[in-house]
Amino acid sequence: MEKTAKPKSRLCTLCNEKRAALKRPKTLEQICRECFYTVFEDEIHRVIVDNQLFKPGERIAIGASGGKDSTVLAYVMSELNRRHNYGLDLFLLSVDEGITGYRDDSLETVKRNEIQYGLPLKVVSYSELYGWTMDEIVKLIGLKNNCTFCGVFRRQALDRGAALLKVDKLVTGHNADDIAETVLLNILRGIYSPNAYRGFAREFIKDLERMRPRAILDIIKSGEDFRISTSTKMPEQGICERCGYISSQKWCKACVLLEGLNRGLPKLGIGRSRGINNEHNTNTKQANGTQSLQSKQCGSLDF
C-alpha cells in the first residue's frame, strides 16, 4: 500500500502539483522526486556544456564501484549522452581489489548497471595488474596501512584500465560530503596527522550541515578558491620511470609500494620512511601530491 506523505509536507515549489519529498540542501527548496531528478540532471548537463568536458566521438570510461556515487554517475552519463546526443562511447570500468567477500556484492551491482544502461564493462584486478590481491597484502602487512596500498593501487588501476579500454577520458563520481572532507583534510594535514582527524572531519562537516545546509558547498567553494603561495612548489605531472604511468616523482607511489612488497619490505613508501624517491629528493613535504579522494577507509564502517 502506498502511504501518503504527512499533512505538514507541502506541494513541490517547482511544479506545484506533487507533494514535496525532500528539501534540497543547496537551495532549501522543497521539491518532489521528479523535479529533483530534472534539476539535478539539468545542472550536470550545464556543467558539462559550460566547461566543454567532452567532444563528440570520444571514448569515456566511467569508474564504477557499485556504490551509490558511481551508480548515479553511470545513470546520469548514459542518460545525458542519450538525451543530448553527446555522441560519446561509454564504458564501465571496475576494479577488483581481491578482498574476499567485499567486492563481490558491489561487482554484482556493476553487472546490473552493465545490463540496465547497455554499457560494456571491463574489470581489472589487483591480482593481474600487480601480482598481489589485497587479501595477500593484508596477510603480509596487517590491517594497519593497508588502506594506503588499496587507495594508491586503485587510483592507478583506473589509469591502467582506461589505457586498456583506449578511452580518451575517465570520469569518477563523488559526493559533496567527500569533497568537502578532502578540502578540510588537506588543510588539517598541513598541521596535524591526517588519519587522526579523518573521523573528526566527516562528523564536523555533518554537524555544520545540520546548522547550515549550504556549509558543505561553501567548503568546496573555498577549496576551489585557495590561493597557493608563489613560493610553494607544486607537484609536476610526469611519467614514472618504472611503469610509465602518471607520477609527480621519479617512481610513482604504486611502484614504490609494489617494490616494497616484492622485496619483503612492505613499510617502503609508507609514512615518512625513506624510499626510492627520497634519495634524490629531500623535500618530503610536497612529495605525494594531494589527498586522494579514494584514500578514506572503505572496508570498515566509516561513520
Binding site: 502511504k3 504527512k6 564501484s65
Partner: protein
Amino acid sequence: MQLTLEFGGGLELLCDSVKSHNINVDPQDGEEELTMKNLLSWVRTNVIKERPEMFMKGDSVRPGVLVLVNDTDWELSGQLETVLEEKDNVVFISTLHGG
C-alpha cells in the same frame, strides 16, 4: 501500531544485518500519539543490537543519517515531532559509509 522500518547504507549492520523490520509499537503511557522522537528511543532499545552511537546522537539520529517517512524526508514532516500513524513506513539510510 504496526510500522515498517528499513535500514540501509550500512545501518543494517547494527541490527544483525536485517534491513526490513515489521514492528508493533504503541504510544507511551499517558501519551496519545507516537512521534518520531518516541520511535527513535524505542528503536535504540529494541532494534539496534550494537554501537547505538553509530545510529543516534543525543535524542536524534546522527548527522548524515537520512530519515524518510513514507518516502518523504522527515525534514518536511517535522523531524522529531513527526506524528506516526498505522502502517507508516520509516527508512533510515546512512550516507556515511563509502560511495
